[in-house]
């Protein structure tokens, strides 16, 4: 969904002139060839398509599409996951999900993470990317080191942070050494703090990804614009606000989209740091941990599938609203959209 509107601009840009050039000279030559082939080898083409695309289609349908349809069906049953579901209960699962306070709280936590991921990571990532984009020594080393938290798995991050933030962990120990005993807190158990601890861990884990994206976005801004601004005597910050930020817009909007969807699906870190039972009382449970606990662990698969459907519908609604009101600017694209569309159309005509 996210990548769909802009199929790999760099490769198309590189590819289309070639395809165009071929198309311009080709029409006369290949036609007889194709016609000759078509008569005898139509079945053959079909066999090739089946052999080549078949395996991917089967695997994809079996493990992605069919399960999703299954979820929609099983969600209407009271079902322990054994045999064929028979106890049809209509919308009862959905009613009990939506009237469950712990689920509504979990949704609230998800949106808390959505909002503060954007607020914490967005500006910081842009700022860091601006600074990293300047010519400094060891820039590539810095890039690697910033990216390390993103590359190591959620489980390792969660295990490390859980030990660090424990009541007798390194963070409280450090505060004790610095004589800041007043700052020693129960980072994981205190419901007023746990959410913010989660935000710190999330920010730490994913900001590298945001910085790398923003850096890539910055590097695609044409240098001439900065030269022009410099000639006009614009200050550094003025240049950033008038040139960089607007042109970084598409990158920021795509990053925000990924961040929002990721926050709604949050599971690994919470489950590792808090475990499935404590997260609800600590105020860090999410829709996914709720689904794991009340569906899978409890063996209520009808209910679990209904939670999956609710989770999907919430994510889909948010995604559609975002696409409708935010990403639309990019897909209609004042800068690149029309020309790309034209190039594609041209290409189609050539074929």
């Amino acid at each position: 969904m996210s990548g769909q509107p802009q199929p790999s601009s760099p490769t198309i840009a590189a590819g289309s002139p070639v395809a165009g050039a071929v198309g311009a000279t080709a029409p006369a030559a290949p036609r007889p060839l194709k016609a000759q082939r078509r008569g005898g080898a139509d079945w053959r083409k079909r066999a090739e398509i089946t052999i080549l695309a078949g395996p991917a289609l089967v695997v994809f349908a079996t493990f992605v599409i069919v399960p999703v349809i299954m979820a929609a069906y099983y969600g209407f049953f009271r079902w322990k996951g054994l045999g064929v579901p028979t106890d049809f209960i209509g919308f009862d699962n959905y009613i009990s999900i939506l009237s469950d306070r712990t689920f509504r709280e979990a949704v609230g936590h998800n949106f808390f993470v959505v909002i503060f991921s954007l607020v914490f990571q967005g500006p910081a990532a842009i700022l860091f990317a601006l600074l990293m984009n300047q010519k400094i020594r060891g820039r590539s080393l810095i890039r690697v080191l910033i990216f390390v938290p993103y590359v190591i798995s959620e489980v390792i991050v969660g295990t490390g942070w859980r030990l660090m933030t424990a009541d007798t962990g390194a963070i409280n120990g450090l505060f004790g050494k610095l004589g800041l005993e007043s700052l020693q807190q129960s980072w994981l158990a205190d419901p007023a703090l746990a959410k913010w601890t989660l935000m710190i861990i999330i920010t730490w884990k994913y900001i590298g990804f945001a910085v790398i994206l923003m850096l890539a976005g910055l590097q695609s801004i044409p240098e001439e614009l900065y030269e022009a601004a410099a000639i006009d005597g614009a200050s550094f910050w003025r240049t950033q606000f008038q040139i960089t930020l607007p042109l970084l817009g598409p990158t920021i909007r795509i990053w925000a989209f990924l961040s929002i969807i990721g926050s709604l699906q949050l599971f690994d870190l919470v489950n590792i740091v808090w475990g499935q039972y404590i997260s609800a009382t600590a105020g860090t449970s999410t829709m996914a941990t709720y689904m794991y606990l009340n569906g899978h662990m409890a063996g209520n698969y009808g209910f679990g599938n209904a939670v999956a459907v609710v989770l999907f519908l919430i994510s889909l609604t948010v995604a559609l609203i975002y696409q409708r009101f935010v990403l639309r600017r990019d897909t209609e694209g004042a800068l690149t959209g029309p020309s790309k569309k034209k190039a594609k159309k041209q290409k189609k005509e050539m074929r």
Binding site: Q4, V18, A26, S153
Partner: protein
């Protein structure tokens, strides 16, 4: 990258521009280094905590949770490195990640080839079908997916993790690869046809080598995803003998929750393969991620 490399050259052309720019760099430089230093220490600090913690004893950790190893002990690391739990998990992770990568690349290239270079009814529908997969992240599908895997009798079997991982990696793979394959000039295909090569031969001798950059990118993305995956193995794999590394770490951490030092040693050793892999393919991973996001 290349844009900044050309900066001094263009700056020389217009003298006043150059002067203004160099002044900015002088102004920004120390601040930049300071910010970079802070950012790096924040990013690396917790990682160092894990690594150093493995070199301490439990009593050291209890006495001073935030201290450095004194004296350094390596027994935690040697214990973990000689334990079968660690190596079983490592082997399972390697099998799962390699098989997923191979499967994604093979199935992905074949399907993308059909979408990119064959003309048939339903071609657009096929692309849309795969692209629709992006709407269903693993989290949404995991509960029914577990039921599907169980129905196929693959629970507690690595294949039960590998096949879904392939399926969920296919949408991104196909979206990245189709433009690559489309960009191969028709001339090459026609020349191959004139030479009497079948489309399949063309596929193996021309398509695979020419789309290699895209293939490597998608392969790396699939590998990293499979290597770090936690949720799917958590649902599918139930016995220690089939655990992958993330499950192994989580299991070890709850089993030896009193032995903090050993947990840290286990955690930092399981970090090593990912870090080596990342340092080898850093540029490609970064380019792949940014490319995959930008479309």
């Amino acid at each position: 990258m290349s844009a900044t490399a050309t900066m001094p050259a263009t700056g020389q052309a217009a003298a006043p521009v150059k002067r203004k720019k160099s002044r900015e760099i002088h102004w920004g430089s120390p601040v930049t280094y300071l910010v970079a230093l802070v950012l790096i220490s924040v990013c690396i600090g917790p990682v160092l905590y894990i690594i150093f913690g493995g070199f301490r004893t439990n009593s050291q950790i209890t006495m001073d949770p935030s201290g450095l190893p004194d004296p350094w002990v390596i027994s935690n690391y040697t214990d973990v490195a000689t334990s079968s739990a660690f190596w079983t998990a490592m082997k399972n992770s390697a099998i799962s990640a390699l098989a997923t990568t191979a499967g994604v690349v093979l199935l992905g290239v074949m399907a993308s080839f059909v979408i990119a270079r064959y003309r048939f009814v339903g071609k657009g529908a096929m692309y849309a079908f795969f692209a629709a997969g992006l709407m269903f992240p693993m989290t949404v599908a995991i509960t029914p997916l577990y039921l599907m895997v169980r129905m196929l009798g693959l629970t507690n079997h690595l294949l039960g993790v590998i096949l879904p991982q392939i399926a969920f990696a296919l949408p991104t793979t196909i979206i990245i690869l189709v433009p690559f394959l489309r960009a191969i000039p028709d001339e090459i295909e026609e020349a191959a046809a004139i030479d009497g090569a079948s489309r399949l031969k063309f596929f193996f001798t021309m398509v695979i080598p020419l789309s290699l950059p895209g293939v490597i990118t998608t392969g790396i993305l699939a590998f990293v995803g499979a290597w770090n995956g936690y949720m799917l193995p958590l649902f599918i794999l139930t016995s220690e003998s089939s655990f992958t590394l993330p499950l192994g770490v989580a299991n070890f951490a709850s089993q030896y929750s009193v032995d903090t030092a050993k947990v840290l040693a286990f955690t930092s050793l399981s970090m090593v393969p990912a870090l080596i892999f990342f340092s080898l393919f850093e540029r490609r991973i970064v380019n792949g991620l940014t490319g995959a996001v930008k479309g």
